[in-house]
């Protein structure tokens, strides 16, 4: 038989995703209870590298019915290949309305909704070792970037190293740096400037990006600010970069700016005790009380087959309560404002959810929206080159601009 869903047995709907197994299990459970009444069977496969796989399969004309795509840029490519169906009529208006502002835009191409965010994560969260932090009496929330700079100085003057930082990530080395940039650009430039930058109407070689770079280098390149110094950033793995916060002999570094998923990388004994060990606050706005968009990501469901059953399944995925089974036992975060926060397994997760549902704008990870050449190419690479001192900022920015595909 065929592993694609476009095959003969139309009562089966195939879903491919790369989401973590517990999330998938939870979603599947909820989904089955929703659609089994219609006689629909779900075949959900976990695959690696879904972006590449799906593009290949699309060109070969052999696809699943529904695929979860983590990158808006890929959704866009899929749409331009006419491989996916618009969801505007598939998803109920109520479900759309309950989505956090900004989440729909990420999946919208040329005014039509193609990708529906099903599970979300938040970036621009600053984690700290709770016990040590409180013992040192550092503030548990920061109001502005200036305050952040001040806090950095304060920690340093205590003889500590303020920042943990690492951007090494196998083939994707550099992406944590782009998250930093996106956060900074969003905070300095606001939603419109951010979107204009993402669509390259504002080039990299622009004031707002330079301003972000400036702050980035202030925080991270300054002598003594980062564990291991500037040269260690590019060689330190993002997953373990935060671990020194929990060193037995006291934190090796004190703050780690990452996405919500990073807790999964923390040492086991920390993970077992997250609420006691780990504290978090959001990356502050440029000015206290100012516009505070947040950056996030997630997996978007796309519809590759316009059969009724597939549509039904997709509609079910859009419902708020689809996450009810996933939330308690995984890192799942719902993109719906009205999701029952009590279902989350711990306070930490609840605090991310609050960040999301309370935001003025959820901005989808910019590098994921940019064309692959940039978003998974030069943006990572030239940032890495800049951080590791192989390129100066001017070169890096102009390289990225130059790599933007012409079409």
């Amino acid at each position: 038989g065929s592993d694609g869903g476009s095959g003969s047995d139309s009562s089966t709907v195939t879903i491919w995703s790369s989401v973590d197994q517990p999330v998938q299990d939870g979603l599947l459970k909820a989904l089955e209870s929703k659609v089994s009444g219609d006689g629909i069977k779900i075949e959900w496969k976990k695959v690696e590298n879904i972006n590449q796989l799906i593009m290949t399969k699309i060109q070969a004309g052999d696809t699943p019915d529904i695929a979860f795509i983590p990158q808006p840029g890929v959704v866009k490519d899929m749409a331009s290949l006419d491989a996916i169906q618009p969801l505007d009529d598939v998803v109920s208006q109520a479900d759309k309305d309950s989505m956090v502002p900004g989440t729909l835009e990420a999946g919208t191409v040329d005014g039509k909704l193609y990708g529906l965010l099903v599970s979300a994560n938040v970036k621009g969260l600053i984690f700290y070792p709770k016990k040590a932090w409180e013992a040192a009496g550092y503030p548990t929330s920061v109001e502005s970037i200036d305050d952040l700079n001040a806090l950095t100085e304060q920690i340093k003057s205590d003889g500590n190293t303020p920042w943990c930082m690492g951007i090494e990530s196998d083939t994707a080395t550099g992406w944590p740096a782009t998250d930093w940039f996106e956060t900074l650009v969003a905070k300095y430039g606001g939603v419109d400037e951010y979107n204009s930058w993402v669509s390259h109407d504002t080039p990299f070689d622009s004031d707002v990006v330079r301003q972000a770079a400036d702050e980035f280098s202030t925080l991270l390149f300054t002598e003594g600010n980062v564990l291991g110094g500037q040269e260690a950033i590019a060689s330190t793995n993002f997953g373990t970069a935060g671990n020194p916060m929990f060193d037995k002999k006291g934190p090796g570094c004190w703050m780690y700016n990452q996405g919500s998923f990073i807790t999964g990388f923390f040492p086991k004994d920390i993970v077992a005790n997250l609420d006691d060990e780990v504290g978090v606050f959001g990356f502050p706005p440029a000015t206290a009380g100012g516009d505070n968009p947040i950056i996030g990501g997630g997996d978007m469901a796309t519809l590759l087959n316009d059969s009724d059953n597939a549509k039904k399944v997709l509609a079910a995925l859009a419902a708020t309560d689809i996450g009810n089974d996933a939330a308690p036992s995984s890192s799942f975060i719902s993109p719906h404002k009205d999701f029952d926060a009590s279902l989350y397994p711990n306070d930490l997760t609840r605090s991310y959810a609050e960040v999301i549902s309370g935001t003025t704008a959820f901005l989808f990870d910019g590098s994921d929206q940019m064309p692959g050449e940039v978003g998974a190419g030069t943006f990572w690479k030239d940032m890495t080159a800049w951080i590791s001192g192989q390129e100066d900022l001017d070169t890096a920015l102009s390289n990225i601009d130059a790599s933007w595909p012409s079409s």
Binding site: Q52, L227, E231, T236, A376, K381
Partner: protein
């Protein structure tokens, strides 16, 4: 599971049996032909299945690739030579070419030399020792290239100074009181490229060792004996009697590795993904192909590779001619 194993077994039997049957039938067909034709047609029948496989899996895609190299990213519209000019005009691409050249200059030669070294030296051990040594050298081959890259990322790994080093090289530096070095970022003298090559060599010497070892053992013992009688030392025997007689295999290995290196990507992709000036053509192809989904540019790279292989083939032809001349 038993049922599964059984099904698998049956499938395997059908697959293998089918293949045998194909040849049996092909041969029968040839034998049905009139005698004059039989011998003329037979060679073609013998290469037919291979040729079919190659046509479908290599030639047809290769032709498509050539065509696609003149089309846009989704292979829809003709764009002339734009994919080529875009690539060639990018300074980064020129660095990539340069790096690739470096790989081609270093890796095949070292692979052959090391493989030959191991094959020859191990050949002199007692059988058990030989087996052990060869297995160890071969071991990395049993690990996928991606796995190899992962292993070596640990060897090269640099934790921030002051943290405990989990990478072997930096731990050793630490023993001498030196600061950790981010090895894969050291692009001066292409050190990091060389370190990546080390990984490839580490994982691929087994390939050349196995082939060369078979060849070394195939050298007629009489000629070795004759050389010993003629007063040649082991080294002279090796260079003057063994090497010339296994030249064919050496060339085979050399060319295979060269072509392999031309399209190498996994190691570079996993370890640096071309960062820090370590990019190579294969990785560039892979990124164009499966990150940027730009099949036009990817195709153009492949076409360039295909062109680059021509001189190598020219060399092989000359070797054949020479071989035939004294056959």
């Amino acid at each position: 599971m038993l049922a599964k194993a059984l099904t698998a077994l049956i499938t395997v039997a059908i697959g293998i049996g089918g293949a045998m049957l194909v040849y049996y039938l092909l041969n029968k067909i040839a034998e049905l032909l009139p005698e004059r034709w039989e011998d003329r047609i037979k060679p073609y029948l013998y290469i037919l299945p291979a040729f079919l496989a190659i046509s479908v899996y290599l030639i047809y895609p290769a032709v498509l690739t050539v065509i696609n190299s003149f089309k846009d990213r989704f292979s829809r519209n003709w764009v002339g030579t734009q994919n080529y000019s875009d690539l060639l005009s990018s300074p980064a691409f020129r660095d990539t070419l340069l790096n690739t050249l470096l790989w081609i200059l270093i890796v095949p030669a070292v692979t052959v030399i090391l493989g030959l070294l191991v094959a020859t030296l191990a050949d002199r051990l007692e059988p058990s020792g030989e087996k052990l040594a060869k297995t160890i050298i071969f071991l990395p081959m049993a690990i996928s290239m991606v796995g190899a890259a992962t292993i070596w990322r640990f060897v090269y790994y640099a934790a921030p100074a002051g943290q405990s080093q989990i990478g072997l090289q930096n731990a050793l530096l630490g023993v001498f009181g030196k600061d950790p070095v981010a090895w894969l970022q050291q692009s001066q003298f292409h050190l990091n490229s060389l370190l990546l090559m080390v990984v490839l060599l580490w994982s691929q010497i087994g390939f050349s060792m196995v082939l060369l070892s078979a060849a070394v053992k195939g050298v007629p013992v009489d000629t070795l004996e004759a050389a010993r009688i003629d007063g040649a030392g082991e080294r002279q025997i090796f260079f003057r009697v063994v090497v010339p007689q296994i030249k064919g295999t050496i060339i085979t290995v050399f060319i295979t590795v060269t072509i392999g290196v031309m399209k190498i990507f996994d190691i570079v992709y996993v370890m640096t993904n071309g960062n820090f000036n370590t990019n190579v053509l294969g990785n560039e192809f892979y990124n164009q192909f499966s990150t940027n989904f730009n099949s036009g540019a990817a195709a153009a790279i492949v076409v360039m590779l295909m062109l680059a292989v021509i001189p190598i083939m020219w060399y092989q032809v000359r070797h054949f001619k020479a071989e035939e001349a004294n056959a």
